[in-house]
């Protein structure tokens, strides 16, 4: 008979937890190097020795104190869902920090098995760990694993099953010294009066958390009969001091164990450390990062050019074929100008999107992006943003929706809100087609640099906005940033390609769904009312465009651009698709049509790129801002602020460009 058990996979960020999860369950997931990348709960299933095992991948956490959304998710799952066994993935190359979480899991009184992961790397750097001895000290089964190769997976599952069958479970707690222990005992005694808590949470663990000033634990006590006594006890102590003392005791315990179980090989400096000296150098770190970003966009633009030419030729041929062979004329226009012209104008940029994601995947998987987050910490902190904000900002280069969701790993509500509000200024991949079209058309020699300038401008506006918000609507102290540097790795081609595909295919799906609907709406507006010339001033599109034209005319945009920008609100790619439809590109490419338009100068094109970079987030991003802030007020603020900033900066950039290159 098959028995079901549930394993919770927990551990610090960057210990190979997701890789191990994949090895256990065979599922496909992205393996990242950034702290806090696993925000959502992920589950998988595996069968072993007659057991049907559900594995739940919890967010990476350094502790079980509720500082961040990740820690709350992980802790609540362990406490409320009560998995049969908790597998803690421990980085064998960094035992001190990882065992801190072990001490907290032990206090939770849950059955724990340790997967000593990255054991090969620890051995390669000369560390010898006595697993049996460490296991005896901790009273926790330990299995050596190498997640990337799948080593030890079977043994880990066997150990987890054994631990489930073991009953009763031992308790292993840290001694915090006489004074603290006395207070813990008093609090535990007070808590035992609350029958709602009995059996749900270990009293000692609740007492420890209360002493650490854990607000979410205090919330559990609020409204119960123990509250008054608990508050009396807490008011008599300094919780900051207690928290520090207890952390010291945990590290003391770890320090006492490690020399007895590990022979560490002390090397002067690894090549990884040496390279970090240069790429994280105080003065050279940021310039090197910017140079690499420039190289990324240069390659994104140039390497994709031949593929774009091929797709463009195929789309152009298809439009011509449809126009020449399909009757009636309205159907030919619907298929040619509407569907093929609109969607074709967007999919022509697929090579750029895929190349950008491939390079970003390479930088991420190599470990470099973690260094980028580190070097950006200092300037971000100085400007009022937490260092952790850089990670969602980098994710924003791909798509602002997951980037805004990734802010859950940021401690502090104000820090998180600040990061959410500035994230839409990070240039997502949906805006790339607009830049590539306009930069390639109007600045062919410097297209890569123009695209790079726009990305840097987005970062600059995000940082300046953070500074503004911090000093006005969201005042307060910035949370400190703790992060680690994963070792450099040569990314495997398959991992980087899979990563590229998982992000890039989203763009294809969008082209076939929301972008298609958007461009068809533009086609309908350009074709009706019946009898008007397609895309003329008399069409609905023309009427809407002319109505809005006074608002964008100071920026050098005409009514067609106004219509495209309105539809870009749904998804930014639709700006290009809409222009494709409105310019009705048939024999000529959209680039040629734009160049031939006397109403659109190079300076106005630059202003348009700046406007698209900064104006309102797309509908999906607005929805997720509402979801993450829990307020339409902030979502509305984000839209309004973006529009104002975009208008002002597009005006300034357009006029400056007009002054220097002419044609304002």
């Amino acid at each position: 008979m098959t028995r079901e058990i549930r394993i919770a996979l927990t551990g610090n960020p960057n210990v190979g937890k997701t890789t191990l999860f994949n090895a256990l369950t065979g599922s496909r997931q992205h393996v990242g190097n950034w702290p806090g990348v696993t925000v959502e709960k992920k589950t998988g299933r595996v069968r072993r020795n007659g057991y049907e095992i559900e594995v739940v991948d919890l967010p990476g956490t350094y502790s079980l104190t509720a500082y961040s959304a990740d820690e709350i998710i992980a802790r609540d799952f362990l406490l409320d869902e009560k998995p049969d066994v908790v597998v803690q993935v421990v980085d064998a190359t960094n035992l001190e920090r990882n065992l801190y979480l072990t001490t907290q899991l032990s206090e939770l009184q849950v059955p724990v098995v340790i997967a000593l992961n990255m054991a090969d790397m620890a051995e390669a750097q000369g560390d010898a760990i006595d697993l049996a001895r460490l296991s005896a000290f901790l009273e926790i089964p330990i299995v050596r694993t190498v997640g990337t190769r799948g080593d030890g997976i079977g043994d880990l599952l066997d150990a987890a099953i054994r631990e489930v069958k073991t009953s009763p479970h031992h308790e292993h707690t840290i001694g915090y010294g006489d004074d603290v222990e006395a207070t813990i005992a008093m609090l535990a005694d007070a808590l035992s009066a609350d029958t709602d808590l009995t059996g749900r949470y270990p009293f000692r663990w609740l007492a420890v958390k209360l002493l650490e000033g854990d607000e979410s634990v205090l919330d559990k006590v609020r409204g119960g009969p123990a509250l008054a006594r608990v508050e009396r006890i807490l008011s008599s102590i300094d919780s900051d001091e207690y928290e520090a003392m207890m952390a010291d005791k945990r590290y003391e315990a770890i320090s006492a164990i490690l020399p007895q179980v590990r022979k560490a090989n002390v090397r002067s400096m690894s090549p990884s450390d040496m390279v970090d000296r240069v790429v994280t150098d105080r003065y050279l770190g940021i310039p090197i990062f910017l140079a690499l970003m420039w190289g990324t966009f240069q390659l994104t633009f140039t390497a994709a050019a031949p593929f774009m030419t091929m797709i463009e030729a195929a789309v152009g041929w298809l439009v011509e074929f449809v126009a020449g062979s399909i009757e009636p004329a309205w159907l030919a226009s619907f298929l040619g100008d509407g569907i093929i012209g609109g969607v074709g104008a967007v999919i022509v940029f697929l090579p750029n999107i895929f190349i950008l994601f491939l390079i970003l995947a390479f930088l991420e998987d190599s470990g470099y992006l973690a260094r980028a987050a580190f070097i950006m910490d200092r300037p971000l902190y100085a400007l009022g943003l937490p260092g952790k904000a850089f990670i969602p900002m980098l994710v924003g280069f791909g798509c602002n929706v997951p980037a805004i969701m990734a802010t859950r790993s940021i401690e502090g509500e104000k820090d998180r809100l600040l990061t959410i509000l500035v994230n839409p200024f990070m240039s997502c991949s949906a805006r790339l087609p607009v830049y590539i079209l306009l930069a390639g058309t109007f600045f062919p020699e410097q297209a890569g640099s123009v695209v790079f300038f726009l990305y840097v401008l987005g970062i600059a506006v995000a940082i300046a906005s953070a500074k503004l918000f911090r000093s006005t609507i969201l005042p307060g102290e910035v949370s400190p940033f703790v992060m680690e540097m994963p070792p450099y790795r040569i990314p495997t081609a398959i991992t980087s390609l899979r990563h590229m595909w998982s992000r890039g295919s989203m763009y294809i799906r969008k082209a076939g769904s929301i972008i298609l609907i958007g461009v068809l709406a533009v086609w309908a507006l350009a074709s009706f009312p019946l009898g008007v010339d397609y895309g003329s001033a008399g069409s609905f599109a023309g009427m809407i465009g002319h109505l809005l034209e006074p608002l964008v005319a100071p920026l050098g945009f005409d009514w067609k651009v106004a219509v495209a920008l309105i539809f870009g609100f749904i998804a930014k790619e639709i700006v290009v698709g809409s222009l494709g439809v409105l310019y009705g590109t048939g024999e000529e490419t959209l680039s040629s049509a734009l160049l031939a338009d006397p109403g659109l100068s190079a300076a106005a094109a630059l202003a348009l790129m700046v406007f698209v970079l900064l104006y309102t987030p797309c509908v999906a991003a607005i929805g997720v801002i509402r979801q993450e802030t829990g307020s339409w007020k902030w979502a509305g603020f984000s839209v309004a602020y973006g529009l104002v900033v975009a208008w002002i900066l597009a005006f300034v950039v357009g006029h400056l460009a007009g002054f220097f290159i002419g044609g304002a």
Binding site: S270, P271, R277, P287, L290, A291, T302, A305, Q446
Partner: protein, 144 residues
């Protein structure tokens, strides 16, 4: 002896990167400098910025090696890696542009010389350094 060679290499290549970087950045401001036609300067400010960054990495390495402070050799090794990396980016861009022109059938309007820039030809010197010192750094880096 090896460190002396590395110092000279880093100092010379660093100086070349910095000089071409300055010419690239200042070109659009002060106008073409006589005798710089053969340098294939593009007038792109960001290319100038990248040249200056690579030059600065070499310069810091050479300075540290000459004073026997810090990790001078590693700065020069990383400078070599950056030099080769950006050379490859330029080479890939050149090949892609050539292929694009071939596909468009407008070969007469483009020659290889149009896509040659300082990042490409200076990387050839960087590649010599890579053969001498860079491979070891890269190997150590990826096996660590």
């Amino acid at each position: 002896m090896n460190e002396t060679k590395m110092l000279v290499f880093g100092a010379v290549l660093g100086a070349l990167y910095i000089v071409t970087g300055l010419l690239q950045v200042l070109g659009p401001v002060i106008g073409p400098v006589p005798g710089t036609d053969l340098l294939y300067l593009t007038g792109d400010l960001f290319v100038g910025f990248v040249l200056l960054v690579i030059g600065a990495v070499f310069a810091v390495g050479a300075r540290n090696l000459s004073r026997d402070v810090g990790e001078g050799a590693i700065f020069i090794s990383v400078g070599i890696l950056l030099s080769v990396l950006f050379g490859l980016v330029s080479l890939l861009a050149l090949c892609a542009t050539g292929l694009d022109v071939f596909l468009l059938g407008e070969g007469a309007e483009w020659s290889v010389a149009d896509s040659i820039g300082p990042l490409l030809y200076l990387a050839v010197i960087g590649a010599v350094g890579f053969l001498a010192w860079g491979r070891e750094t890269l190997r150590g880096l990826t096996s660590s």
